[in-house]
Symmetry: C2
């Protein structure tokens, strides 16, 4: 057993306890009332980086939530690995659907996690996965085997679009110089089937407001004679997809990089059970773009989903009102070659064009994100694949992910660095949902795999 | 000047002050947190009925909010008038759109109300109009001219469907025996154009719930592959009307009593300025069922409106979630001969039938109300028309109203009594909306007109 693994196995309880402590901090970046908690989480990460052996670990202020930067430089001739993660989390609502409080982590055994899973908001996305890197770093330092210069960017605004990361990267280009970016914020096919995410979807996110009458009206006196903004919004949303679930926004598919039949066939080989899938989320049937499989719909195809809608009277009882305004938050997942800015523009132009003359429409863009592809022939990918093969005893499958990590494109654009997405989560972790959890097995498997990646990356770069 | 009018003019300030005091009580029946306030309002009404000269005035408990019953019996051979009104009010939200707090009444002059209007939730619907009857009764008592047995039912659940009025009527049939029911809870065409509402629309009100996945999902991992209940709800709502704004529920129009071309021509004679109408509610254009005028769409035609919709993330910032559930409150206004129970059933069957197999749908009926027509050749209508002609100097126009007063059908069914809807509000009073108000002119004109009705009704019944 290597010195690294000895250190890890003799410190498991402490590693876990430190993660639980981090999970108790409600660092919700989207909601300003948690501002102080977000900072508390940043300070915790900084402290742990120092304890783990970083030469330097500082809290860098931004116009929003702070970024924690840490580094350990071992040799100017050694390759550099920049680890990225985030300590902020999604809002926990709806709270009543949690079996235990989102910020009071508990470890419970589940069918998929016989060794137990940590239930808490952020356990998988991304505190649990990010913290593996700090503990793996600590283990390599203790064992004296760290052969790569190591840099950490742990930010606090990933869940709100990494608003201020770009400025930080631009202002610190030299300090952040790296040969690869390593991120664990994605999932694997299963604990028996390791995989590495080689493709990500981009994101375009807008908020729309439809205004009918200039004030709420009595539906008895006005009903039938005036535009009801909620009905109108529903009609506009419905018209955004046709009966085959194709998105009707003109030009929406123009830049889509179609996946070859060969690659689609390869994707189809990865284990996937549609019935288990439906069962796991309680669906009697799936739904999506005609001509594509469930896995394809969730990875290589662009989408349009309403993430939130509200308007009129939503309280107890019945109120016969015609609202003045109706709102919706709408996001579109994008695939390689689609440009978020362009898609947002296409959406805005189209949505305004389909509004009936009787209403006013406002479209406000939120953050977006570029889609991404990792070349599987790169040293970085090979180093990651070999590392997982070592710890899982199986070669990982290159997989296309459905989610978006907007910052991956930033790293490529500003730091000119590719990214390796070596994530250890599962799609059943319920991230962004009530009862989010992360397997204890996955947590420690990640801590063991990361040093292997460092070792491989150092050797392959010789 | 009659003794009645002398009493009224010498007590104007007090009458107004008493109404303001009543308006300061936030008697919102739809929201249980106002329960105590609702009772306070009931106690206030009881007290005022006694002070006005009722022989009997009591708070009658129900399974919900109490009903205030009062009476003054003058002569067993005299005709009886049952006055109905309600002391509960609509929820005041959205609060931020009020220019002054909804439960802190202020009197301000407006273009339509040079003598001032009372701004407060319930000022017009129905506290202001209901209280006119108590003051008119006080004036008739003081002048010793009350020639009709008088009964008052002032309830506290009108805004939530008069849930427990039916039981009250059934249990007190004899006590409530009457020759006519008199209600002021409707409006006139304008202060220069008095009118009496002879037709009311009925109401069918349902709440729908659409369930997709059994938990909230990450739109990146699942987007495109699973039914999004918000998108589905939007599509289902959109499909409830065709491009001519006809309601597509099979059988919806079957029982509609079509209005004759003659009556439609008569309706078209009443003064109405479409441009003023649009301006008053800030619309660039009206919208509604093809082939009907704005006034027709709002009175003699049935409608379908979404009164509230909610689902997913509606907080600050952006959350990339696919909600498990989406909800809407949907109401249909019905016209004479349509049956609420039947329409609700048709809606439920249709809505469930159009749901895609991938989602679950739940339809929960709220309260409904029967449509209504008052015969213009009845003594009661004639007495009301003559009373208004006396006080306004103009014969009132028989008008079809768009709103619903479900209890009117109950009175007919249980007490076998017709109802006269002698209302003094205006459609610009913003009832159910922010800045609801009621003209001071209208308040006192009502107090003067009601004794005339009593006088006429007594004479015509000789």
């Amino acid at each position: 057993m290597s010195k690294v693994n000895e250190f890890i196995s003799s410190n498991k309880d402490r590693f876990l306890e430190e993660l639980l402590e981090l999970l108790r901090i409600p660092s919700v970046s989207a909601d300003s009332k948690y501002k102080a908690d977000v900072r508390t989480a940043a300070e915790y990460i900084q402290k742990k980086l120092v304890e783990a052996g970083a030469d330097k670990a500082e809290i860098c202020e931004t116009a929003g939530h702070p970024i924690v930067y840490g580094e350990k430089l071992v040799d100017e001739n050694a390759p550099t690995i920049l680890v990225y993660g985030h300590y902020d989390v999604q809002p926990p609502d709806p709270l009543d659907l949690w079996d235990s409080p989102p910020f009071e982590p508990v470890i419970k055994k589940t069918e998929l996690h016989p060794e137990g899973a940590i239930f808490a908001r952020g356990s998988a996305d991304d505190k649990g996965q990010m913290y593996m890197h700090i503990k793996a770093f600590e283990a390599m330092m203790d064992a004296g085997v760290l052969k790569c210069n190591t840099k950490f960017i742990i930010e606090g605004e990933e869940e709100v679009g990494s608003k201020h990361l770009e400025t930080f990267l631009l202002e610190n280009k030299d300090m952040l110089k790296t040969d690869v970016v390593l991120i664990s914020d994605t999932d694997m096919i299963s604990n028996d089937t390791p995989s590495i995410t080689v493709g990500l979807r981009g994101l375009s996110y807008v908020e729309v407001e439809v205004t009918g009458p200039n004030r709420d009206l009595h539906s008895g006196l006005y009903g039938g004679a005036v535009p009801n903004p909620i009905n109108v919004l529903a009609e506009m949303i419905a018209s955004l997809k046709d009966d085959k679930k194709y998105i009707t926004i003109p030009g929406f598919y123009n830049d889509v990089l179609e996946v070859t039949a060969e690659d689609r066939a390869a994707m189809a080989m990865a284990p996937f059970d549609q019935e288990d899938y439906k069962k796991s989320i309680g669906l009697s049937d799936v739904e999506g773009e005609e001509g594509f499989s469930t896995k394809e719909r969730a990875s290589i195809r662009p989408t349009l989903d309403v993430n939130g809608i509200w308007g009129g009277y939503t309280g107890e009882g019945a109120k016969t009102v015609i609202a003045s305004k109706a709102y919706a938050k709408i996001s579109m997942r994008l695939v390689p070659n689609q440009k978020p800015e362009k898609i947002t523009e296409l959406f805005k132009a189209h949505f305004e064009s389909i509004a009936p003359p009787s209403v006013k429409v406002k479209v406000t863009p939120h953050h977006g994100g570029q889609p991404y592809l990792t070349p599987t022939d790169s040293i970085a990918y090979q180093a990651a694949a070999k590392a997982m093969e070592t710890t899982f005893g199986k070669e990982p499958i290159p997989n296309r992910g459905g989610g978006s990590i907007p910052i991956v494109a930033l790293f490529e654009e500003i730091l000119k660095s590719k990214t390796v997405l070596m994530g250890f989560g599962l799609d059943t972790d319920a991230i962004h949902s009530p009862n989010e959890h992360y397997g204890v097995f996955n947590f420690f498997k990640g801590i063991e795999t990361i040093p292997e990646f460092f070792k491989n990356f150092a050797e392959m770069n010789k």
